[in-house]
């Protein structure tokens, strides 16, 4: 199967520009949340990356941190990149919003906020719940989420 991940030399170029960038694997990089927005701007607007679509945005609740995962696709260059941001602060997790760059972030960030409880700073207004009711307490995809009811 052909590989479509971002070429390693291009990743190396990025590394020079963004010191916090960390290569986790083929086509997977991690970045500090301070540098997320400039990195994404670079990835979107630099024609040698041209990541024009934010295809997926999600978050994972690890025991020691939250990890926000972005999957980028470049339609003209047909390559992929997964960008991760670790959020150590488990009490008030927040990452910069990407709504200014990609429209698809608007609903996906709302979804992540709703289900995982990660705040997105710079989100137009404030991310509101999207799938759950406004009155819902807690964020169900967190590992410490407790719920009542169920079958047995």
């Amino acid at each position: 199967m052909a590989k479509y991940d971002l070429a390693p030399e291009l990743v190396d170029l990025l590394k020079e520009k963004f010191p916090s960038l960390e290569v986790l694997g083929e086509g997977v990089v991690a970045v500090s949340k301070e540098e997320l927005l400039p990195l994404m701007k670079e990835l979107k607007e630099n024609p040698s990356y041209a990541f024009d679509m934010l295809t997926n945005l999600t978050a994972v609740d690890y025991p020691d941190c939250f990890e926000v995962v972005y999957n980028l696709v470049s339609l003209p260059l047909n390559h992929l990149l997964m960008v991760k941001v670790r959020v150590e602060d488990k009490e008030n997790p927040a990452v910069p919003s990407l709504c200014s760059l990609w429209g698809s972030a608007i609903w996906q960030e709302r979804e992540v906020y709703d289900l995982m409880g990660i705040d997105f700073t710079g989100y137009p207004g404030h991310p509101t719940r999207i799938l759950l009711d406004e009155s819902f307490k807690g964020h169900p995809l967190r590992k410490d989420f407790q719920w009542e009811g169920g079958r047995e």
Partner: protein, 364 residues
């Protein structure tokens, strides 16, 4: 004269919101000033449920996302787990997957075409599409035993081989399909009233479509060639000869017409897959208890609604640590609020219908 806008609550029980979707419309007469989409009425927390189940046990839950194309939902999840475990799927299984996946795509597009016809007001086209969809469902029922929620894919292959009576029935269906498509084209697509209702309505420019992450027929209607089967062929799609229909204007009509064209292309793919169906096993050598190594994988496939992605995180146990589904219907809806502004109530239905959402998938 003092005029006043008013709020019209459309849904969640409105007949044309394709399920339990709600749009709060602020209207000036019949013209939409502002729209607010409220999904979530069908949220079942499938991602959370998946965390409490073993890897194979998630498969039936994926069926219940896009229940109109369950095979493709199965495929998306299974592809991610296979990627995580590094499983090489046997060739015959890949071909079978292509056959049932494309059949599922046809079924899904038939629903999209039919319900769109009824959204615009023509009820007969709806019944023709559903009449023919039954034949697809019969075929898939032969294969999997169920009509809608198949749970047919397994990690490393498929559940069962194609039964012998499947092939003549499929052959007959594929033979009839072009004339059936002509019928839809004659009854719906070619109708001047239908064209007046849909042409240049709800235009999505290509750059906006990409920016908002729209995929599938909605993106291709804007003229952007982005079909994973073509641009990043997965499975065995690189072996088949087919075209990706593209639209010109990105309006409702293009989004609709592209689906009928895709049905024809899917039929081509199925024909080639059946002809080239190799012998061999239908399951890879997979351990009885599936325990992927610690790690993560993100795989995408082209579902009938767009790019269906699945992100699986494993902590080395038998249960996934985290599963996330990138549901195309959900992301396609993200642009709806802006798209509706300035159109009439009737166009709201036309635009929403042309996006072809399935609420099971939107709300997950």
């Amino acid at each position: 004269m003092r005029t006043q806008t008013y709020i019209l609550n459309m849904g969640p029980q409105h007949p044309s919101t394709h399920g339990v979707f709600r749009i709060i419309l602020e209207l000036d007469g019949e013209v939409v000033v502002k729209a607010k989409a409220v999904p979530g009425y069908l949220h079942r927390g499938i991602e959370k449920l998946a965390e409490l189940r073993t890897y194979p046990q998630v498969i039936p839950y994926t069926d219940r996302m896009d229940y109109l194309a369950s095979m493709l939902m199965n495929w998306g999840y299974v592809a991610a787990v296979e990627k995580l475990m590094g499983i090489e799927v046997p060739e015959r299984a890949e071909y079978i997957r292509v056959i049932v996946g494309e059949l599922s795509r046809i079924a899904s597009h038939l629903v999209a075409v039919g319900t769109y016809s009824v959204d615009i007001g023509g009820f007969t086209g709806f019944l023709y599409c559903f009449r023919d969809r039954e034949r697809v469902l019969d075929l898939l029922e032969m294969v999997s035993g169920s009509r809608m929620t198949f749970s047919y894919f397994r990690i490393g292959g498929v559940a069962d081989d194609l039964p012998p009576e499947f092939f003549p029935t499929l052959d007959k269906f594929l033979h009839d399909l072009p004339s059936l498509c002509d019928e839809y084209d004659g009854l719906i697509t070619g109708n001047e009233i239908f064209q007046a209702r849909t042409k240049f309505v709800g235009i999505i420019p290509p750059d906006v479509a990409v920016n908002y992450g729209l995929t599938g027929p909605n993106l291709r209607a804007s003229g952007v060639l982005y079909d994973l089967r073509k641009v990043r062929p997965y499975s065995v799609y690189d072996r088949f000869d087919f075209e990706v229909p593209l639209g010109k204007n990105g309006d409702c009509f293009d989004r609709f017409a592209i689906r009928i064209k895709e049905i024809r292309q899917s039929a081509r793919i199925i024909r080639q897959a059946v002809d080239g169906l190799p012998e061999g096993p239908i399951m890879a050598k997979v351990p009885r208890v599936i325990k992927p190594p610690k790690g993560e994988a993100y795989a995408e496939i082209e579902s009938s609604k767009g790019v269906f992605g699945c992100y699986v995180v494993s902590d080395g146990s038998t249960q996934p640590y985290r599963v996330h589904f990138r549901r195309p219907s959900f992301i396609n809806l993200g642009y709806l609020e802006k798209l509706l502004e300035g159109w009439k109530i009737a166009d709201v239905i036309a635009i929403l219908g042309s996006l072809d959402i399935v609420l099971g998938e939107v709300d997950c």
